[in-house]
């Protein structure tokens, strides 16, 4: 089957991204396809390349990135939710006069329409939020 995930919690503040990652691994282990992950609400913080957890803790961004590298899963981040919360790509940084950015590939800023597209393309859309 084709699965999509909607992740709406921030790492370290919320267990939702941890649950979503474990679920993603289990989906793939059962032979399904993961069509995409959409990050909305506080979930946009999963994309932060400045995330610096202590060394004995999982770096959630790197874990999502590894999922993308191994299985080609697109990682889409809602642009409106992200900008408000200080998650900015190189292009958006330039547009808004910031001298730095903290979102880079494989994460992509995209509109909320992408969530609707994901929902339509998938057999199952599972939401992770706490």
């Amino acid at each position: 089957m084709d699965y999509g995930l909607l992740v709406m919690g921030a790492p370290y503040s919320d267990p939702a991204p941890h649950s979503a990652l474990r679920f993603a691994e289990a989906v793939l282990a059962r032979g399904h396809r993961l069509t995409g992950v959409f990050f909305y609400h506080d979930g946009v913080h999963n994309a932060s390349s400045l995330m610096t957890p202590p060394q004995d803790e999982l770096n959630l961004r790197k874990a999502w990135k590894a999922l993308n590298e191994r299985h080609g899963v697109p990682l889409d981040v809602c642009i409106a939710a992200a900008l408000r919360r200080g998650i900015v790509s190189e292009a958006e940084a330039a547009r808004h006069g910031h001298s730095a950015y903290n979102l880079e590939a494989p994460f992509e800023l995209t509109g909320l329409g992408q969530l609707l597209t994901l929902q339509q393309r998938c057999d199952r859309l599972i939401t992770f939020a706490s």
């Binding site: 939702a16 649950s19 679920f23 199952r124 859309l125 939020a129």
Partner: protein, 96 residues
């Protein structure tokens, strides 16, 4: 048939809301903070016959409630079983 996923404690607003949404034949999966429901076998979700209830094993064990769930003979699934539940239900709703 819908899979309802609850992530909050039994006395929370979302826990009350999911009860309004559950239909006969539906399935309720308790994950994250919702697994504390294992402590109280008198909770409505354990005593009604209309829908099936599962606890997510990993979250239960992490909170030290694995033995209590066993003692109360409550049904658990692991992450693989969670995926299986989503295969069986065309629709899922998460309550948080």
């Amino acid at each position: 048939m819908t899979l309802h996923i609850l992530t909050t404690a039994p006395n929370s607003d979302p826990a009350r809301q999911v009860e309004q949404a559950l239909n006969a034949g539906d399935t309720l999966l308790l994950i994250e903070a919702a697994v504390t429901a294992a402590l109280d076998p008198q909770l409505n979700c354990w005593t009604q016959p209309a829908y099936t209830v599962w606890l997510l094993e990993e979250d239960l064990v992490a909170r030290g409630l694995g033995n209590i769930a066993k003692k109360h003979r409550l049904a658990t699934v692991n992450m693989d079983g969670f995926v299986a539940l989503t295969e069986q239900h065309e629709q899922s709703v998460t309550w948080y």
